[in-house]
Amino acid sequence: MARYGMVIDETKCVGCYACRVACQNQNHLRENEAYNYLEEREFGQFPHFNREFLPIQCQHCDNPPCVSVCPTGASHKRKDGVVLVNEKDCIGCKYCIAACPYNVRIIKQEGYIEKCRFCIDFVEEGGKPACVTTCMTGVRMFGDLDDPTSAIAQFIARNGHHLRVLKREMNTKPRILYRKA
């Protein structure tokens, strides 16, 4: 069984938002519903200045607080590592939104909670997540962390000292790893 994960290269995002809209289309979202977002940061003073965009989405944590607080089991973690919400079981109590430290869950107009699904239906048909394939700078890498021949596993092996996770102190064990700036 695959164990899916992602690497996001913080040095490469130019803030174009293609990943946002590609994801919205892939997942039939409305214009104000988005599974990913960007945080822009500025550094330094003119003329010694730089900035960066940090793409953020569900981190598909191995220790997901959203799952442990969910009273119905709608939020769940699959064996392949993907954290999902089962819309039929979701009662819209929003406990998961409060528990998630990454601010990635949205309330659908229909009333249930959703978030990045790692495009898992599409991936199971052989596709790749829409946010991965649309990106002109190749910010995201997606694949099977357990398959040592996968590009993502090899990248992680080569770049161990450059990697970090968001909010490590929360002990959520994210399965999205960031390549540091």
Binding site: V14, H28, F46, P47, F49, T137
Partner: protein
């Protein structure tokens, strides 16, 4: 800056929409149930091209239940290499935009009435025939933003005997093109992926999207290339760069002259290349002495030692080093000195010996489409020159005759030279400088026909509006936009049936011709025309339709051949320019206007693109506008220290004022902008009330620009404007 838009009478809209009630329920109203049902439905995938901007990326469009679902980039395409930008994904939803018009419209007593195509054509033809009798064919014009049907639009004008086919070029790139033409004979490309040192001046492919260029920059960086971005604003490409040089706007020429100075003084240039393949080096040596880096530093605010260091680093990597060929910023249509800046940029490249070299500036392979004749004889060309003076000594001898000076159309209309116009895939009322003047000019026309799926600013003052299809609804002419190491042809294809009573651009051109009695020049179907155009390329229409894009011709090889310049070599000094009364060698030329250093409220107004918008075309798309709002992007950028001096805090509303316009907008304070300017994102400031998402959101730089024509090519000099900025 607003005009009072015309009213659409409700009755005429209802009439118009009755025809298409079926399409409506499928497309417009029902995203929710469509989305729900769609999870398990079969999907069709059709190759076509994107209409989100002029790049015309090759895409696959996916259709579920008769509605467009999503698009993906075609990995074979030179121009986008499998990826897509946010507009590519977001603009597809405009197909279902409720603001679309549903039938041809005629303006009657200040409001629009729905009419049939037949009535529209008949009335337009009658009016044109009267105009032809009174004023001759030269009084008729066509203007469009580049698109794949342009050969047929040109043919339509020529069939009528008019020279007046225009593109938007004079507000965009004509100085750049002219400078490259005079230096190396034509406009080249950049071999970014193989370059070791990339300097980009006034161009931002990560914001004014060029997907392949960004991919290639990333590839070059992975191989260890250095990237330097020169821009008054820390643009999005600068995020990928090793160094950002915040040049004082309007002074890029000083920087480039100083870099040439260092190359010449320190003998860093490619001596063999200069000796064998250029003319005028001795003259260049004489002139360039005047521009040492210490001189440039005082003008352009880039330290002399930075200029020297980077010139050395760049020369060290020659010929696998380049200065990006440029686009709109700095050298396209911005400053009085843009033409000379572009000349200096081309010359600096030539000194690196990089012309048509791997990792340098190269001449891409581009598909040469076949002719329609002899099967379909072409009309005789127009008798006279263009009224805008392009190509005429004493007027705009360097101007592009092919593009014309389209922002002169309002002036020509006000003078009575132009009487009748067609506007297709273009919205000059919003994208040309000085809208009051543009509105006055276009309103002066005896007949204005606009082809557009929505009531843009321009459409809303037209006499007739013809609902052109949205790009995913129509088969159109084969296209050669994807040039590169190997040429490619593409084809725009119908992905879904047209909503409403709309017709393709190609069809409208053919229909107009037949109603005007010049149908003999258009006695072919689209397929027949496309087949003839593809014939010399050795590919079939059938294959192209199946694949969407096909490579044609040979693969590019590096090497220097005879150029299209008078000498056949790179013209460092141009006697052709000298003969026309321009300097043979670029000289320093100050911008036309500069902000007052002593006035804390005085700024130059510059502009640029955000990746999510194309000109004025996408602001009405809710998926894209949602990003503008969520990330608070409809703001004026201002240097933090300058803002604080005039009491502006982040998010405050500021009042901006120029000679011709004024407006209010919220500000964003940043350290990433040269203090002498403010920066306005382009694409906002929509004032057509019929565009309900975009209406009255933000401002356009055009609101503040006077109508200007530079003395070389007649471009709009769109950053030669000083504004007063105050807390509102």
């Amino acid at each position: 800056m607003q005009t009072k838009p015309l009213k659409i009478s409700r009755r005429s809209f209802l009439q118009g929409s009755a025809v298409t009630a079926g399409a409506l329920s499928m497309g417009l109203l029902d995203f929710q149930s469509w989305a729900k049902e769609s999870a398990q439905t079969p999907v069709t995938r059709i190759p076509t091209i994107c209409g989100g901007c002029g790049n015309r990326c090759a895409i696959f469009a996916f259709v579920k239940n008769g509605r467009i679902w999503k698009v993906e980039g075609n990995p074979e395409a030179n121009g986008n290499q499998g990826v897509l930008c946010p507009k590519g994904h977001g603009y597809i939803h405009d197909l279902y935009n409720p603001n679309r018009i549903r039938s041809p419209l005629k303006r009657v007593n200040g409001s629009f009435q729905a009419i049939s195509w037949e009535q529209a054509y008949k009335e337009i033809a009658q009016k044109i025939n009267l105009i032809l009798l009174d004023n001759g064919p030269e009084s008729i014009f066509w203007v469009n933003y580049p698109q794949s049907n342009q050969a047929y639009a040109l043919r339509l004008m020529h069939s009528m005997g008019s020279p007046h086919y225009f593109t938007h070029g004079s507000t965009c790139f004509t100085a750049r093109n002219a400078a490259w033409n005079f230096t190396v004979g034509k406009l080249p490309s950049n071999d970014l992926a193989n370059s070791r040192f990339i300097m980009i001046v006034g161009r931002n492919p990560a914001g004014g999207i060029d997907l392949a260029q960004v991919k290639d920059i990333v590839k070059a960086k992975e191989k260890g290339a250095k990237v330097v971005v020169v821009d008054p604003r820390h643009n999005e490409t600068a995020i990928l760069a090793d160094e950002w040089l915040p040049v004082k706007p309007g002074t890029d020429l000083a920087l480039l002259l100083a870099m040439i100075n260092v190359m010449v003084e320190e003998k860093l240039y490619d001596k063999a290349f200069v000796a064998n393949n250029t003319v005028g080096f001795a003259q260049l040596e004489d002139e360039i002495i005047n521009y040492p880096p210490q001189w440039a530093e005082k003008i352009c605010d880039i330290p002399a030692e930075t200029i020297i260091r980077l010139t050395r680093e760049m020369a060290h990597e020659k010929p696998h080093a380049l200065i990006h060929r440029g686009y709109h910023g700095a050298i396209g249509a911005q400053y009085l000195n843009s033409f000379q800046t572009a000349r200096a940029l081309a010359i600096a490249n030539a000194l690196l010996g990089n012309i048509n070299r791997k990792g340098g500036i190269y001449f891409p392979e581009s598909a040469e489409l076949g002719e329609l004749q002899p099967a379909h004889p072409a009309p005789a060309g127009p008798a006279g020159p263009k009224a805008d003076g392009t190509g005429i000594p004493g007027r705009y001898p360097l101007g592009s005759y092919g593009d014309g000076i389209s922002h002169a159309i309002p002036e020509l209309a006000l003078r009575g030279v132009l009487k009748c116009g067609f506007v297709y895939h273009h919205n000059p009322l919003r994208t040309n400088p000085n809208p009051k003047r543009v509105i006055a000019g276009y309103k002066k026309l005896d007949l204005l026909v606009v082809i557009d799926p929505v009531l843009s600013e321009t459409a809303s003052i037209a006499h007739y509006v013809l609902p052109g299809t949205f790009y995913l609804e129509a088969n159109e002419a084969v296209d050669t936009k994807h040039y590169g190491k190997r040429a490619q042809v593409t084809i725009p294809q119908k992905v879904v049936e047209p909503l409403f009573d709309s017709r393709s651009g190609f069809q409208i051109i053919v229909d107009l011709a037949s109603n005007l009695g010049i149908g003999k020049y258009f006695n072919f179907t689209l397929d027949q025309a496309n087949e003839l155009r593809l014939k010399p390329l050795g590919v079939t229409l059938k294959d192209l339709k199946a694949r969407g894009i096909l490579p044609v011709g040979q693969t590019w090889k590096e090497g220097f051949g005879k150029l299209g310049t008078p000498s056949g070599k790179v013209e460092l000094a141009s006697s052709a320019l000298e003969n026309l009364g321009y300097p043979a060698i670029p000289r320093w030329e100050a911008p036309l206007v500069s902000p007052d250093d002593k006035d804390p409220h005085s700024f130059r107004l510059i502009h640029g693109k955000q990746a999510i918008h194309t000109h004025a075309m996408t602001a009405n798309q809710p998926y894209l506008m949602a990003i503008s709002r969520r990330y608070d992007m409809i703001r004026l950028l201002i240097n933090r220290k300058r803002a604080e001096k005039i009491g502006l805090k982040d998010g405050d509303v500021a009042e901006i004022k120029s000679l011709v316009g004024e407006g209010k907008i919220r500000v964003k304070l940043t350290e990433g902008l040269h203090p002498s300017c403010v920066w306005l994102p382009s694409g906002y400031g929509i004032f057509s009330k019929y565009l309900t998402t975009a209406y009255d959101q933000g401002l356009s730089y055009n609101d503040f620009l006077p109508t200007l024509f530079d003395p070389t090519v007649g471009h709009a000099m769109s950053s030669e404007v000083i504004v007063q900025v105050k807390k509102a």
